[in-house]
Structure formats: C-alpha cells, structure tokens
Symmetry: C2
Subunit: 333 residues, 2 copies
C-alpha cells in the first residue's frame, strides 16, 4: 500500500450559500405557507428558490455545502484535502471552485456544461443564531459514479461523505462506489448524517450504509436518535456503540462524545461569547476532528480541535473559517 | 412643484464585492507586480480580474458599489430610495438586484443583455481592517444617459452620484444629464468624490462639476485635498468653503466636519471596538447624513446618524448594514 498523498477527500453537494438575517416572524410565516422548518434543511425546486429568494432580506454569498465546508476547514488546519462535487459552468460555480482552490484543496470534478445552475442554499439566520436552510440542488444532483476519481479516492487516507448526498439518487450510487474504492485501497470511510430529516427520508439506506461501509461516523444528537429511532441520549449511545470504529456525537453547547471501541471520551464545548450563525458548526467540528485523526492525535485532542473550529464558525456569519485554523494547533497541544 | 415621492436617488457603478482577508505581504507583493495601492481603488480589466481572483484567498460575496451601499443604508434607516446602475443578466446581477429590492429600493435599470458580465470588485482586507479594492467594471461601463429615468430623477428630493462614475465616459455623461434634470425639477444634487486617485484622474472635470452642479459634497480628507491640490486640512476647508451649499469632510477616527454657509459643525466619530473591514465606511456615512438631511434634522443629528452608520459597517466584513439602521434614530435624537 502506497503512502496516501491526500489526508482527506470530501464528497458532497457543491453549494453556494445565500445567508440573510431574518426574524422569527419570517420563519413562522414561511412555516405556515411552505412548511419550512426552523433549524432544518428543506429541499426546494427552482421555482420555489426564485420565490423564496424574492421574499428574503438582502444577504451575503459564501461557498458552502457540508463536505465543502469541512474540507475548507480541514485545509485551514494545514491538512492536504481534495473534494468531489458538481457545480455548473456559471458564476456561482466559479466562486465555489475558487474558494476551495484558494484553500489549497484539489478539486477537479468536471462542471456541468448544460442544464441546471450551481446549487444554492437560501439560509435564514434568526436572532438566536439558528440557521434554517432551503436547498435548491441544481447541478449538484448530477454528481454520479463517473465523477468518482479512483486515483484520488485510493490516494486519500479518509474519504468523507455528507449524508445530504443520500437525496440525489445518482449521488447515493457515487457514494457506494467511493466507499468501496476506499476500502479496496485500505483506506477509511467517514460519514456525517447531516440532518435528522434527511435521515428520516432514507433511514434504511443510512442504517445499511453505516453498518457496512462507515469507519468514522459523525452525527448530532437528533440525527443519531433518528438513525435507530431511539428516545433517549443513553439509548442512542448504547445503540451506536461498536457500530463503527469511531462514533462522534455532537450536542451543541453540551459538547460532544467520542466512542471508539470500549473507550468513551467526553469533550466540552469551547465557549462562544455570542452565537451569530450556527451554519457550518457540525462541518467545522468534523474538520477539526478529522484533522487531528489523520495526524494521529489522541481522541481528546481531536475533540478539542473540533470544538475550537465549531466555536469559531458560529461566532460569525457564514459556514467557513474566518481565520487560519492552524493557529488552534498550539492551543490544543 | 410636486412633492417628491422618493427621498434619495443614488446613481453608481453596480458592483458585487468579493471580500477576502489578506496579509500585508500579499498587498506588498501585488504592489510590486501590478501597482496595487493599499487602501486605494485600482481599475482592472477582465484578464487581470481573472488572474487576481486566482491568487486571492477564499472570500465572501456581497452586493456593493459605493452608491449602491449608500442607498441600501439609506433604506435601512427607513428612507424611500431609488437606484440607477447597470448590471448584466447573470447570477451576480441577480444578486445585486435582489439585495436592493429586498431593502425596498426602487431599481428598474435595464440590465445589459449581451456583453460584459456584472461588475465585481476584488477587495483585500488586511488585518488592520483597511480595504484595498480592485474593480473590474464589466457591464457597469454601459450605463448611459438613456438609463437616466427623468421621472425618477424629478421625483427624488436628492440625486446622489458617486465620483467613481467619472471613470466610464458614458456614465459621466449620464451624470450631467441626471444633475440637470434634478435641478430643472428643483431638486438637489449630491456627490461623493469616492477616491483620491479617481479625483486625480479627472481633477478638472470634478472641479467643474462640483462648482456647477453639486449642492451637497462628500469627501474624505485625502479626496478633498486632491480636488484643489491643497497641502493642509485648514487650506482644504478654506478652499471648499462656500463651493457648495453643504460640504462634508470625513476624517476616519478623527470624526468629520460639516460646512454649510458660515456654519462649521464638527462631528466626533462613533467609537468602534474593533475595525474589521473599512469597506463601505464613507458610503454608510453618506447614507446616515442624507437620511437626516432629507428628514430636515439638524446638521449635528445628520452627522451623528452618519457616524453611527459608518461605525456599524466597519465592525464587520462587507459594505452594507448588518442591522436595521432605523434603530439608530432613537439613540441620535
């Protein structure tokens, strides 16, 4: 087995975020008229995206996508990263591509030449810092097994997949291909469950995939409970014990729990003076954890790096680092 | 004379900003290879925009443009605003349009159907909060006298023009048309000098325009000194006295000075705990001042509103409000 050239390959829906501040009344109204769920991720079609955008306050645009955010954070720590995801040949696609390349991330997926535009996520950030996401997948649904570059997968220590990819059918297939290639090359596969509603939509697929393909699993409390429909956090921990080599469950301000074999490590959350926008919290947590993991750091240090990255990203608007995460390394050591 | 339906019409280069954090070494290197001037605005062509973007760190996108920022801030105070500026029919153009409409600003300028893309400004923000701008004007240069809607100009209490429009030749002509229409309708014309380098490029045109067409002039210290090539702030004040009905000179943390006839009002700057990004400081100062002015507030209160808006915008990345400026009204009264 050759030494891997890439520390982490992330595969996900390539999305540009449109972030706007909205009040509770806006979300309440949208919930009534469209079923928008505060704190959740709702899939929307192009017509609805146009309609909702017209109703949204002015915002800022930032490259996003769960796995895209993770690989950007991972590279900010100093890790060698690669990304696979589908943008269109348009301005937002260029922005997405630029922002990964600028972080030193290898990103060569062929853009979609004809068809839907680059995916966008309309994100409403309420005064409590909570984000409510509305995703028009656009070109991202065209990600297919053809896009999975075997060379890159087999050169990557870990292939990291976002659960949101269970929504587009071809992407789910791409997923399987990637994880089989990774394991064939003796590498590891990591998965984030992404969203409890997404888990509910594809529960059996998720269960089978987690049990058969995943070495490192990330989930927040709600997602973890949704996976096996458990009622308490204790039941959830018990149910997930030993399912994967490493299981990481995040609990927002209550910190996180890492289970590896018989070991259970509790990580306290890093304090944040003001939560501005929780977009990207889980993504940057995964970035910090996986950076530590690929460097062979102890689970405690992995969790500490994870918590610091998550704390940084929720203190400002947008899902990606506003600083060099490598600066955290001294602090965590 | 009918009662004006619009408080402020702003005319400017319609630009989407791409903001990235950069270190001093990046600017120093770019200065050497391309003549980029820290703190200034450099006009660049499409090829250079592509080249510079490829070298820039990852960033965020925000609607920008000096007059666009001002009208967004003005609307955030609760004023009725309109905007004239040229975007292309592309994704960045849609973003620009959305962000003004979402603030309740009337914006009906026909987009450019064929030709250059929407203008973008590549902004490098150094750790001291200073912004260095590189503007590819794209579709914005196509703004021409045809785009000046007489109805809107004559319905607006004040028509506000950004000095940057002196760069594209047709826009300069659009400028003259707008100011003549405004005065014909008995309205006022305001101008921001925008940038000392821009003033140097077009000094005589600026002098003639200020003396013949402008009722309310905004300039920072460097721009004001560039206009008549004065050496000291005292000389500059003396030289500008009486040139327009109202002359406002901003001095960053040293506050600002308002001259109206024989009156000179000094305004202290609002304190800011940390300057994150000075992009939009002058634009939001003008927004606050003009809001107060169109409401008939005293020059002191106009200056206070101006300083509060400027202080808000430099405390975060991006050139437009992150809050409702109307909340400042109680505080300033």
């Amino acid at each position: 087995m050759k030494d891997p050239k890439i520390d982490l390959l992330a595969i996900g829906n390539a999305i540009v975020d449109v972030l706007a501040q909205a009040d509770e009344a806006f979300i309440a109204h949208q919930h009534k008229v469209s079923g928008m769920i505060k704190g959740g991720m709702t899939l929307i079609d192009e017509a609805r995206a146009v309609e909702l955008y017209a109703q949204m306050p002015s915002g800022i645009e930032s490259s996003g996508g769960s796995a895209g955010n993770t690989i950007a954070g991972f590279a900010s720590f100093g890790g060698k990263g690669a990304y696979i995801g589908k943008v269109a040949q348009d301005q937002l696609g260029e922005v997405f591509r630029h922002d990964l390349k600028a972080q030193g991330v290898l990103f060569n997926t062929q853009p979609l030449a004809i068809g839907a535009p680059t995916a966008r996520c309309l994100i409403l950030v309420t005064p409590d810092g909570q984000r409510t996401m509305n995703t028009y997948l656009g070109a991202a649904v065209e990600l297919s097994p053809i896009d999975i570059d075997e060379d890159i997968v087999s050169s990557s220590k870990i292939t990291y997949l976002e659960g949101y990819l269970f929504d587009p059918p071809q992407a789910k297939e791409a997923f399987r291909v990637a994880s089989e290639l990774a394991h064939k090359a003796g590498r590891k596969v990591a998965l984030s469950l992404s969203d409890p509603f997404c888990v509910n939509r594809h529960r059996e697929d998720f269960q089978a995939f987690v049990e058969n393909h995943v070495d490192i699993l990330f989930a927040n409390e709600q997602e973890a409970m949704a996976l096996y429909q458990t009622d308490t956090f204790e039941q959830t921990l018990e149910g997930l014990k030993g399912v994967c080599e490493v299981v990481v469950i995040t609990r927002g301000p209550q910190g996180s729990v890492v289970m590896a074999g018989e070991r259970i490590v509790e990580i306290t959350a890093e304090p944040v003076s003001k939560v501005v926008d929780t977009t990207g919290a889980g993504d940057q947590y995964a970035a910090g954890f996986l950076f530590g993991y690929t460097r062979g750091y102890s689970l405690d240090v992995c969790g500490r790096l994870a918590s610091m990255a998550a704390a940084e990203v929720i203190a400002h608007m947008g899902p990606r680092p506003n600083m060099k995460y490598a600066d955290f390394l001294k602090k965590a050591a």
